[in-house]
Amino acid sequence: MQSTPVLLVEDDAIDAEAIARAFRRANIEHPLVALKDGESAVAYLAGHGEFGDRGRHPLPAFVLLDLRLPRMSGLEVLQWVRGQPGLRRLPIVVLTSSAERRDLVAAYEIGANSYLCKPVEGAALQAVAANAGRYWLTTNRPADLEP
């Protein structure tokens, strides 16, 4: 069986590449599935449409979720996830450029497991992403998703 992926929902291609580089440099073996908008993220997690095959598109170990996304915002995705019985315990890590208090509060209120701010400096962003990957994949112990 293929190793559980990490789902990255990020519309900024350069940020997505920086995070991917960080994972590679940190020797994280879990594949990074990068989606560019909220609707695709929901489709993937629900196993709809092109993501219908769970064998090819397995549920991720955790989600790195940006908030400012086209079509469906990160908070909406988060809210939807927390409403799904099979996804309620899925760790979701918000990774965003917003340090606004109301985003922080809203994210935790809805059920984010972690909230990370993207640093502006490229090296710092890679460090944050690598740390998050290591922590949520190795340090953290998740619960089963199914009831």
Partner: protein
């Protein structure tokens, strides 16, 4: 008795005529003469009695009129009316010395006085009752009566002498004429004498009773010897003496206790009547009493008698004076009240228990829109429009039923005064009770239509203002929200490309580092540095936007803790600059928004660590003190110092004193400090001279009492 007496006389006359036939015409003449004399005596007596009656009735009519004028006591008025009727009757009798015309004139005058007093014109009534003209008229009446009295007196004496003479002659003849006849005559004389004595006894008893019972002091005294013939109990009381004490007093000694009476000595020698004279008597205890004295002298059985009586008017006068003064005051007050009632710019009225108007003033009449006369005697239903009466009448009934007044009741409606306009009044209905019976309701109505309309206008205006404020607030909060959204988006959207610049520079070095020349590497470094400055600028813009716009709720905070937080956030900078930083604990508590205050302090400390001459170690002191209910925090440095001309400028946004190359900065740091501190009710300032370092200070409100 009387009829029997006459029959006897007739029988005697028959007998006498039989005898006179024998005694001749002389005897007959004497007998006729005797009869005439007897009749004349009776006439004279009657005339004297009439004169006395007239005098008494006249004086009673006048005195009671005066007493009523002064006191207003109805018993005087009643007595006056009775006296007037008697005076008329006596004056109409034959032989009255007073003409009916004269009596009617006097009575008309008295009636006029009484009518004045009935209308409460006491002062005028008294003036009229005691007017000089009236005194003169009374004097004239008294003079006439006195003259008539003297004449009647003389007539009586003359007729009595004549009768006695006739009697004596007749008796002599009769004694001579016939023994039998003499017996008859004796019978006649006896019977007449007994009748006269009986009458005189009855009159004397009546007078005695009258004088014993009355309060009028009354004395009869022998004008020659000054011995008391009679005195009543009242006279002793007037002088403050017991009856025995009074008895021991001589009349002359009594006179020494009174003011002089001008005619008393004349009266001692000649019979006469003195007009009433006011005199003052001194009682035993020294009290002075005012008495109207009446003195008469008469000859009686050869004795000269002085008859004196008086009317004590001390109390009457005192009461009268007090009454007059009180009445004058009351008249003044009631005139004032009447004028207030009429003129008051307040509706005033009174309705009786049947809710009929008994009084209404001009203002209330105007409010109701009817003339005053149209109210009087009419009910509320008849004077008010039905719609208003329907609501108001039950209120009146309630006041009458419960006896509880209704005060300052707000009423509204329309009246005949202006049927198209809704008007407002403040009404009070107060029950009026007389002797425990509710007789009506006093009405006080104040028109408040103008006030009500003004209130309504004001309310409308208020509502309109509130609506506009709400609109404005909504528009403002809309634009605020938009602005916030804008700042938020800007921060996010500006940061993403900045981060991309950083990332791409990173990728370049990672993937192609080996191919880059040192010059190319230097450019990459400068690209990254520029992006870093822009990031700081964006951060500070966001902070500035927040402290100028967002609510910064102030809570009590320990200042030392906030300072510690601020310095911890600057750890990297402090280490880099190697600053000598000393923080003195203040122990103070301030009212502030924690994050904003920490930012302000951090900015000041960061500046202090930054703006120093190259190569020197920054020395920074953070200290505080309480002053005047506020807390001052100072950040003192050993830095470059600032020209006082620049002190104001440095707190403005985007103002910088130094080039970017020497001292990096956005020009927002102090603007954030000022905006934040001022939003929290504090003030900021700086004391500095170039080259001497600077002291930046914050003054913050303190929750602690001074």
């Amino acid at each position: 008795m009387r009829a029997g007496g006459r029959a006897t006389e007739r029988a005697t006359l028959v007998a006498l005529s039989a005898i006179s036939a024998a005694c001749g015409g002389l005897v007959l003449y004497q007998i006729v003469e005797l009869r005439r004399a007897g009749a004349a005596v009776g006439t004279a007596r009657e005339r004297l009695a009439l004169l006395g009656d007239l005098r008494i009735a006249y004086d009673a009519a006048e005195t009671n009129q005066r007493a009523y004028a002064v006191t207003g006591a109805v018993e005087h008025r009643d007595a006056q009316r009775r006296a007037a009727a008697e005076l008329r009757a006596f004056a109409a009798a034959p032989g009255s010395p007073l003409s009916m015309q004269q009596v009617e004139a006097a009575l008309a005058h008295f009636a006029g006085t009484i009518a004045l007093r009935d209308r409460d014109d006491a002062a005028v009534a008294v003036a009229q009752a005691f007017s000089p003209e009236r005194r003169a008229a009374t004097r004239d009446v008294h003079d006439r009566l006195r003259a008539a009295n003297a004449a009647a007196d003389a007539e009586l004496l003359r007729t009595q002498a004549r009768a006695r003479r006739a009697e004596r002659v007749g008796i002599a003849i009769l004694l001579l004429a016939a023994g039998a006849a003499a017996a008859s005559l004796a019978l006649v004389r006896w019977s007449r004498g007994r009748r006269a004595d009986e009458e005189s006894d009855a009159v004397a008893a009546a007078y005695r009773q009258l004088f014993e019972q009355t309060d009028l002091p009354f004395v009869v005294v022998d004008a020659v010897t000054d011995d008391w013939v009679y005195f009543n109990a009242a006279v002793g009381r007037s002088f403050g003496l017991s009856t025995d004490e009074f008895r021991r007093l001589k009349f002359r000694e009594l006179l020494a206790r009174t003011s002089s009476h001008p005619q008393i000595e004349a009266l001692r020698t000649e019979p006469g009547v003195a007009p009433p004279v006011p005199i003052v008597i001194r009682a035993q205890d020294g009290a002075l009493r005012r008495v109207i004295s009446y003195v008469v002298s008469l000859r009686h059985h050869g004795r000269m008698l002085l008859v004196a009586f008086g009317q004590d008017v001390t109390e009457l006068e005192t009461q009268g004076r007090a009454l007059l003064a009180a009445q004058a005051d009351a008249a003044g007050v009631s005139a004032e009240l009447a004028s207030i009632y009429v003129e008051a710019p307040v509706g005033l009225g009174f309705v009786d228990a049947e809710l009929r108007f008994r009084a209404v003033n001009a203002e209330l009449a105007a409010i109701n829109g009817l003339p005053i006369e149209a109210h009087l005697g009419r009910t509320l239903e008849e004077t008010l429009p039905p719609e208003l009466a329907l609501r108001i009448v039950p209120l009146y009934r309630r006041v009458l039923d419960t006896g509880e007044p209704l005060r300052a009741l707000e009423l509204h409606g329309r009246t005949r005064a202006d049927p198209d306009r809704e008007r407002w009044w403040l009404a009070s209905y107060v029950p009026v009770e007389i002797a425990g019976r509710r007789v009506g309701v006093n009405i006080v109505v104040v028109e408040i239509t103008a006030r009500k309309e003004a209130e309504a206008r004001l309310q409308e205006l208020n509502a309109e203002l509130e609506r506009r404020v709400e609109e404005r607030t909504r528009a403002l909060s809309d634009s605020n929200a938009q602005l916030e959204m804008y700042t938020y988006s800007m921060a996010h959207d500006l940061r993403a490309p900045l981060r991309n610049v950083h990332s791409l520079a990173e990728f370049l070095v990672e993937d192609h580092g080996a191919e880059l020349s040192p010059g190319a590497r230097e450019y990459v470094r400068r690209i990254v540095a520029a992006a870093g400055r822009m990031n700081v600028l964006i951060h500070e813009l966001l902070v500035y936007a927040r402290v100028t716009r967002e609510a910064l709720p102030a809570v009590p905070l320990p200042l030392d803790g906030v300072v510690r937080d601020a310095i911890r956030s600057l750890q990297a900078l402090c280490e880099r600059s190697g600053a000598d930083l000393v923080v003195e604990p203040t122990g103070a508590t301030v009212l502030a928004h924690r994050e904003t205050l920490a930012t302000a302090i951090a900015n000041l400390v960061a500046n202090a660590c930054t703006y120093v001459a190259p190569g020197t170690v920054p020395r920074v002191r953070v200290r505080g003190r309480r002053a005047g209910g506020r807390v001052r925090l100072e950040v003192a440095d050993s830095g470059l110092g600032i020209d006082p001309a620049q002190h104001e400028r440095i707190f403005r946004a985007f103002e910088r004193l130094h080039g970017q190359d020497h001292y990096p900065g956005t020009g927002l740091g102090l603007a954030i400090v000022r905006a934040g501190v001022e939003r929290m009710g504090g003030t900021v300032g700086v004391e500095s001279e170039p080259g001497t370092g600077s002291v930046f200070w914050l003054d913050l409100p303190s929750p602690e009492p001074e």
